[in-house]
């Protein structure tokens, strides 16, 4: 297996205390890694360090030199009032080529094919606000896939979406991983998403554990991660994590 990204003793601070401290993590090809942790635990910071949007305060982040990397941000961060259509969002991905200020015919074909593959054929000229939650998520996924990435990074891809959309997103990502794309995502959704992934990383200002769901989703690891007692049940071969509020059986 080849290392795509390696975080070597990485710490990061935004000026105050470290939001992430001394993280060692290797993302190999092909990975399918979910990062879980409570709000403010450093999940998004970890993703931004992997992407190269942030430089570590301490330690080093090594990326394979020719790595094609793409990012799907949280839908909550998108400006839905921006005057832009689904096709324009996808075609932005070709913007890095300075000699192509406008999309070429072949780029438009690629955009149409991607939207078609993701079940969005005929939605090219729709304003992004007019799409459903699942369709919006797929438009941003199409933009990320436009450059045929080897590593796809997603921040909370199922946040704020309904159950059906969550299933769609999980299936899409599973298919991508099967076809050789490495996927790293952050999520709050342990039962609906993280428990279905091959590898989970638990983060709370430090890397608490990395492993398969069976190895990581244990009451001890979850209590260290979330700072509160949690129960882990097994149902039909699946792990289910529940809150275990103090005083309640």
């Amino acid at each position: 297996m080849t290392a795509l990204v390696e975080l070597d003793g990485v710490s990061h601070s935004y000026g105050g205390p470290f939001v992430l401290d001394h993280v060692h993590l290797i993302i190999e090809e092909p990975s399918f890694l979910g990062v879980i942790g409570p709000s403010g635990s450093g999940k998004t910071t970890l993703l931004r360090l992997v992407l190269g949007n942030l430089r570590p305060t301490r330690g080093a982040v090594r990326r394979r030199s020719d790595l094609r990397i793409a990012y799907v941000p949280q839908v909550e961060t998108v400006n839905w009032n921006f005057p832009i259509t689904a096709s324009e969002v996808v075609l932005m991905a070709g913007a890095s080529k300075w000699y192509r200020p406008r999309a070429t015919e072949s780029e438009r074909r690629r955009m149409s094919e991607l939207l078609e593959q993701l079940g969005l054929g005929g939605f090219e000229n729709r304003h992004i606000r007019e799409l459903s939650g699942g369709q919006q998520q797929r438009v941003f996924l199409a933009r990320a896939l436009y450059s045929d990435p080897e590593l796809l990074v997603l921040d909370e891809p199922t946040s704020g979406v309904d159950v059906r959309t969550r299933h769609e997103v999980v299936h899409l990502l599973t298919d991508l991983h099967r076809n050789g794309t490495s996927v790293v995502l952050s999520t709050h959704d342990i039962n609906g998403l993280a428990a279905h992934l091959p590898i989970i990383a638990c983060v709370n200002r430090e890397l608490i554990a990395v492993g398969t769901p069976i190895e990581v989703l244990t009451p001890a690891v979850l209590e260290r991660t979330y700072g509160a007692p949690m129960k882990v049940l097994e149902h039909g071969g699946m792990l289910l994590v529940t809150d275990s509020p103090m005083g309640l059986a």
């Binding site: 000026g15 992407l51 190269g52 949007n53 990397i69 793409a70 990012y71 799907v72 941000p73 961060t77 998108v78 400006n79 009032n81 921006f82 005057p83 832009i84 259509t85 324009e88 969002v89 075609l91 932005m92 991905a93 070709g94 913007a95 890095s96 300075w98 192509r100 200020p101 406008r102 999309a103 304003h127 933009r143 450059s147």
Partner: protein, 278 residues
């Protein structure tokens, strides 16, 4: 007195051309300003440039050279502060812009000699626009169109989603610097007609009007300059006839169009423009 009577005067023809071009350029650049929620930067930058204009007048340095250097430095500094966001961009810009504006006022009060030209910079004037200035404003227009056409997708990506643009190989810092330089040049070369105190409205209003009538970014880039140019052209003629400063008339006309479009487009227009002005 006929409607077209003022066109017999060269100073008016020059002023009319500059105000029409100024409206179009402000409309075009304003699309990026409002979509990036940078309206306050346009306001701050125009106030900053006033300091440079006053210093140039007192030191007898060429207006465009002095105010241009001052404006460029202010633009880059404001852009950097807004990007880093450590202090709170609006607060930092408030400090930089008002300090520069206050410096300009102090210079004017102490030296007093350039009061008339400073008043023109503050409130706009149709007098004294030379043919060379028409060429200069037209050049800024050509430059702005060239930059927007040449970097269309990069500017769009950096405006819509800077974080992802950065990951995707777009140099977002460079795009922002380009935008700030374009904004500074636009303000610098159009402020004599519209005035420092009103130019931010000309940057914002045509773009907001365009946003209310369309959901397409590329159409906004056509509609906003058209609205700005119409306001500049008609506002200048009205300004001559009613003897009110052109900046005030141009902005009042733009505001009137805004009110009409706001009423006509109803909830859809208001929904489109929601969250654009900060």
């Amino acid at each position: 007195m006929t409607l077209f009577e003022p066109f017999q005067f060269e100073f008016f023809r020059n002023g009319w051309m500059v105000s029409t071009l100024a409206g179009a350029i402000c409309g075009l650049v304003g699309v990026y300003v409002v979509l990036r929620s940078m309206s306050y930067i346009g306001h701050g930058l125009s106030h900053s440039i006033f300091g440079g204009a006053a210093a140039s007048a007192v030191l007898s340095v060429n207006f465009y050279l002095g105010a241009g250097i001052w404006g460029l430095l202010s633009a880059l500094m404001i852009g950097r502060v807004a990007r880093r966001g450590k202090v709170g961009a609006d607060a930092a810009i408030g400090v930089i812009a008002t300090a520069s504006f206050a410096f300009g006022l102090a210079l004017t009060n102490v030296f007093g000699t350039a009061k008339r030209s400073i008043e023109a910079v503050l409130f706009g004037s149709i007098l004294g626009v030379t043919a060379l200035e028409v060429v200069a404003v037209a050049s800024v227009g050509v430059l702005a169109v060239g930059i927007i056409a040449g970097f269309y997708r990069k500017l769009l990506f950096a405006t819509f989603d800077p974080e992802v643009a950065d990951v995707s190989g777009v140099n977002v810092g460079r795009m922002e610097a380009l935008l700030m330089v374009m904004l500074a040049a636009t303000i610098l070369f159009t402020m004599k007609i519209v005035g420092v105190l009103l130019i931010s409205a000309l940057l914002v209003t045509p773009a907001v009007i365009a946003r209310m009538v369309t959901n397409s970014f590329s159409r906004m880039l056509v509609i906003a300059p058209l609205v700005g140019a119409v306001c500049g052209a008609i506002g200048m003629v009205i300004s001559y006839h009613v003897d009110v400063s052109p900046g005030a008339v141009i902005i009042l006309l733009a505001s009137l169009i805004f009110v009409v479009v706001y009423a006509v487009t109803g909830a859809r227009g208001r929904g489109n423009a929601a969250g654009m002005i900060h």
